[in-house]
């Protein structure tokens, strides 16, 4: 029985609006992971799994909603987890280039940071006040008086001793001197000379002796000064302790539960005692800066607390999205300040990375971006492997700089990393990075499609309506929802499936909303959706139309009527952006006596891909199996895609190539009113191909432009019938009998349509009826075989 055109209902799977479920006010939750049960389970498993290495890789096409779903689940889980502790960097007073870390409960880091600033501010007031107090001055004065008195006593004692010898101690502009006296008055030189020699000698002796003592006394003065200085230092220490100790004690009591903080405060205490001079910064400065600014100035940086994470008082675990996952943005960095051409840094300039912010929670990253930044992937793996965040500069990673910088103590890491990428990337990493499987043990692969059945339609319609609501679009009429569902099936090239690409649905909804508003409607109906589909297609179809025009003008030769031996219309698909278009191509074949070789010209010139070559090689096997089981295949044949100047691949034309070749061998012409698509196996079965809708529409467009004759049509594999979701105009043309779609299961069916003749069946002797297409092929091959045998025998006789 001849193959019949497909009925209209097979060409377009309409959506029954009675299956669309309730009205908008009773819809399903908009963010439900419709059709993603497998991915959802994987995500929940990874998020709930506490062990190391159970990080998650999520894949799926763009717009499928994977990031939103993962974020939502992570955010929900985060609310059930405690907020992570604060991590703070503080100065290491013994080795300032290796800052220490403090772990504090959430919020306590910020509090400690404030407390330290307050401590410095307080001491900036209290220390100068203590040293300016009357009490301190009095004590200094007491020390001064004491030593002044000791000096005076010493000189007074010497003066009294000298007086006993009638000698007086006097001051000179530069020091002291001793002079002889008589009756309470100094002796003049004349009086001295008048004294007996013995007395003169005695006076000289006394003075010489007293001079020695005087020298010794004067030498004592610097010692007294040194001693007074030491007393003063002790006093300063005492006053400093009196001021600082209570403040530190109070802080220690406040943080008594945290030994690390107590230890830090102890080192701060020691440093403050040793550097009390710093607290006179305000009175030393000409500008007299306010205390809160002074407390934050570089002089007091060493007492500050750099809270890396936990600056906000969160109630839940963090969920961090890092849009620029560079090495430094992930691991953190040490910044520098320039001062007169010199770069300086300290622990306060350590900046947290995404890992710090996400510690104790979830970090969501784009895998492709992550891999595109130098060292970012390695840095992330190292952190996950070692379960700690160690800030190393990029310069160090490159090994090009040898200057000393900060080496902050590593921070323990407890984070669940979620990488979002595509499947290709996942399998590449799995194949080429041996660490990847151990660090990312869970894979969540988002489904692209959903079965289109009564149950899912109900939910899917709800999803469409909710997305419209979320986007603040006009409400949809049921017919509008139905048309979107139909278009969703078209997007996945399957009338029994629905697309889960929310991005596409939302785009279509927005555009339909635009057209509805343009028409002044309050609701989106099916025409608005149709207009959105057609307008989108029109906007992107310039190149496709140019190609059609070239065919119309005869620049590219495609016949749509008549019959030609060894020539047929194949169909191919090309993609421009989001849109795919089908267009016809001419295949020609030639056949002659030969040695059984089928030449694929595309392959010979290296424009044919491997799959295409495979298809052509199957043809040879089919020919031999069907027509020359008991004799050599004495054939040489050539196949070519005419006017094709680019690479060709795929086997979707292999069935038509076979038919064209058979036409060439048998001499039976092929009707050009048909275009055909489908791959073939060695048994002659027609197999499904991709892009069936676009291919049909491509040939339809050409025929429509030239004028539909009523007998034109496209032959497709029967396996592709469920995929048919053709444009409205094609369906209407078919419904009106002006165009036809045929579904075939075998080469014979396709051949009978193309040739318009009975192809014939093999009898018990493996022979086909002589007038059938197959019979003519078989007969021709037998003839060539005989000719070849004779030629071969003649050659042998000659030898």
């Amino acid at each position: 029985m001849p193959v019949q055109p497909l009925p209209t209902e097979k060409l377009y799977h309409r959506c029954d609006i009675t299956h669309l479920g309730p009205k908008p006010d009773t819809q399903v939750a908009p963010l439900r992971a419709l059709g993603q049960a497998r991915a959802l389970e994987a995500i929940q498993f990874a998020i709930g799994m506490p062990h190391n290495g159970y990080n998650l890789f999520v894949s799926g096409s763009t717009g499928i909603g994977k990031r939103e779903l993962v974020s939502r689940i992570a955010a929900e889980e985060a609310t059930h987890r405690p907020a992570p502790n604060d991590w703070c960097y503080v100065n290491n007073f013994d080795q300032p280039h290796t800052p220490g870390i403090l772990e504090l409960p959430v919020g306590a880091g910020t509090t400690l940071s404030r407390d330290m600033l307050q401590l410095v501010e307080t001491l900036l007031i209290r220390i100068p006040a203590a040293f300016h107090s009357d009490e301190y001055r009095n004590r200094v004065q007491e020390i001064r008086d004491e030593f002044q008195q000791r000096e005076e006593d010493n000189f007074q004692h010497l003066g009294e001793k000298a007086h006993a010898f009638n000698i007086t101690l006097m001051r000179t502009p530069s020091g002291y001197t001793l002079g002889p006296m008589r009756k309470g008055k100094l002796i003049s030189p004349e009086e001295f000379n008048a004294l007996p020699e013995d007395e003169q000698h005695q006076i000289k002796q006394f003075i010489e002796q007293l001079n020695a003592e005087l020298s010794a006394l004067v030498r004592e003065v610097p010692k007294l000064q040194q001693e007074s200085l030491e007393r003063l230092k002790a006093l300063e220490q005492e006053v400093t302790h009196e001021v600082i100790d209570p403040e530190i004690r109070q802080l220690k009591a406040h943080y008594a539960a945290y030994p690390a903080v107590e230890a830090f405060l102890e080192t701060v205490h020691q440093d403050m005692i040793e550097n009390v001079d710093d607290f006179f910064a305000q009175e030393k400065s000409e500008a007299k800066p306010p205390l809160h600014k002074l407390a934050r100035s570089g002089t007091f940086h060493r007492y500050q607390v750099n809270v890396l994470a936990g600056t906000k008082r969160e109630q839940a675990a963090p969920v961090v999205h890092e849009d620029i996952p560079s090495y430094q943005n992930l691991i953190g960095r040490v910044e520098y300040t320039a001062h007169f051409g010199t770069l300086n840094t300290d622990f306060t300039l350590i900046q947290p990375g995404a890992l710090h912010r996400a510690n104790g929670g979830f970090l969501i990253l784009d895998a492709r971006k992550l891999l595109s930044f130098p060292f970012a992937w390695e840095g992330l793996k190292r952190a996950l492997r070692n379960r700690e965040i160690k800030i190393d500069s990029l310069e160090k990673m490159y090994g090009v700089v040898s200057t000393r910088s900060l080496e902050p103590e590593p921070i323990p890491l407890d984070v669940k990393v979620i990488l979002i990428g595509d499947r290709h990337l996942y399998y590449l990493l799995k194949a080429y990075d041996p660490e990847f499987p151990t660090l990312f043990k869970v894979y969540a692969d988002f489904s692209e499609q959903l079965d289109r059945d009564t149950d899912t339609l109900h939910e899917y319609a709800g999803l469409i309506r909710c997305l419209a609501q979320e986007e603040a679009l006009l409400p949809l009429q049921p017919e509008g929802v139905a048309r979107i569902i139909e278009q969703s099936s078209r997007q996945v090239d399957d009338s029994l499936k629905l697309s889960l690409n929310r991005g596409h649905i939302i785009d279509l909804l927005r555009e339909a909303d635009y057209w509805a508003r343009q028409a002044g409607r309050q609701e989106i109906n099916s025409n608005d959706v149709e207009q959105a589909v057609q307008a989108q297609r029109f906007r992107n179809s310039q190149y496709a139309e140019l190609m059609q025009q070239q065919i119309e003008r005869g620049t590219v030769m495609i016949d749509t009527q008549g019959a030609v031996v060894g020539q047929a219309n194949a169909l191919s698909v090309f993609q421009l952006g989001d849109q795919r278009y089908g267009h016809p191509s001419r295949i020609t074949a030639t056949a002659r006596l030969g040695n059984g070789r089928v030449v694929d010209i595309e392959r010979e010139i290296e424009l044919g891909g491997a799959i295409h070559s495979k298809g052509v090689m199957i043809l040879g096997a089919y020919l031999a199996n069907h027509y020359a089981r008991n004799r050599p295949l004495s054939l040489n044949a050539s196949l070519v895609f005419e006017q094709s100047y680019g690479p060709i691949d795929g086997d979707s034309a292999s069935a038509l190539e076979l038919c064209t070749l058979i036409s060439a061998i048998s001499g039976v012409p092929i009707q050009q009113r048909f275009a055909a698509t489908g791959s073939v196996n060695q048994h002659g079965q027609i197999q499904a191909i991709g892009g069936v809708n676009e291919k049909i529409e491509g040939f339809y467009d050409l025929c429509r432009r030239r004028g539909l004759s009523g007998d034109q049509g496209v032959i497709i594999p029967a396996a592709n019938v469920p995929h048919l979701m053709l444009n409205r105009d094609v369906v209407e043309a078919c419904d009106a009998g002006r165009f036809h779609i045929y579904a075939v299961e075998s080469v014979d069916e396709m051949l009978s349509l193309l040739c318009g003749k009975n192809v014939g069946s093999r009898d018990g002797d493996d022979l086909y009826p002589p007038n059938s297409v197959n019979g003519k092929v078989q007969q021709q091959l037998i003839e060539w075989c005989e000719t070849a045998r004779k030629l071969s025998a003649g050659d042998g006789d000659k030898r």
Binding site: I127, P128, F131, H132, Y136, R137, N138, V140, Q141, I143, R144, D145, F147, Q148, E151, M170, R171, T172, P173, S174, G175, Y176, T177, L178, G179, P180, L186, I187, S188, P189, F192, K204, I207, E208, N211, L214, S215, V218, R219, V221, L224, Q225, S228, L229, R231, L232, K233, E236, V276, D277, F280, E283
Partner: protein, 251 residues
């Protein structure tokens, strides 16, 4: 000119800043400035002895005490003072004289007291003990001994002017006879000083006062001339012998 300000100078305690301060004060008070260089006659006589030796304070080195060097020092000081005052005169309307007096420093001071409306002593420098590392932010203060007479009132006006110009604390000790029992009794410009301290002393004990003055941060003391008894020998005038403090005797 409305009076005479005498400043005594000797090589042992010469401080150019103090001379400058006195010169400014003289200009402010429209007084004639008399710089009085006192040549210690006893020391010169002692230096003439062949065996006289001097122990240098800062090095404990022993050397000959030469009258020639003492005279050179005095001459050098005289020239220095002359130049300082000459330069000051170029910029300020100051009338000044330089006088050299031979004798004992304190005796000379007492001798000239009657000639001066304001007499400024040159007391010896103190050994610097325990200069505090911290808390030196405030400038040295001024102390006034007030006993209620007109010289005390003049001294109060001078002290207020000095503090307004140089800053620091004005410490007023109200002695018996003074009417300054409360800050409100002070003149308005004195009350307006940011750092002001008033203390009443019920009994006049000069020795106690001296100790108290030395223990303060004041490096300038104003006293009415009535507190100096010209009948007493110089050695019994404790207010004139305060190391490190410049004494202004106001008549």
């Amino acid at each position: 000119m409305s009076g005479r300000l005498i400043i005594t100078l000797d090589p042992q305690s010469y401080d150019p800043q103090r001379l400058d301060r006195c010169a400014r004060l003289a200009v402010a008070l429209n007084m004639e400035l008399c710089a009085l260089l006192i040549e210690d006659q006893e020391l010169l006589s002692l230096a003439a002895l062949p065996f006289s030796r001097e122990i240098v304070y800062h090095s404990a080195r022993e050397r000959d005490l030469s009258p020639l060097r003492l005279q050179k020092l005095l001459a050098l000081l005289g020239e220095q003072v002359r130049q300082t005052l000459h330069q000051f005169e170029q910029q300020h309307p100051l009338q000044w004289t330089l006088q050299v007096d031979r004798g004992h420093r304190l005796e000379s001071l007492l001798h000239h007291q009657s000639e001066a409306d304001l007499l400024v002593t040159a007391n010896q420098k103190r050994t610097e003990y325990t200069r505090p590392t911290y808390g030196n932010g405030h400038p040295p203060g001024v102390m006034l001994l007030h006993c209620g007479d007109s010289a005390s009132e003049t001294a109060l006006g001078i002290a207020t002017g000095i503090v307004i110009e140089q800053g620091g604390m004005l410490d007023i000790i109200a002695l018996p006879g003074s009417s300054l029992h409360h800050l409100r009794n002070l003149p308005k410009d004195t009350q307006a000083l940011p750092h002001l301290h008033l203390m009443t002393v019920p009994v006049l004990d000069i020795a106690l006062l001296r100790r108290r003055i030395i223990r303060t941060h004041a490096d300038l003391l104003l006293i009415p001339s009535t507190l100096i008894d010209p009948a007493l020998p110089a050695s019994q005038q404790p207010l004139l012998q305060m190391p490190g403090v410049q004494v202004f005797i106001v008549r």
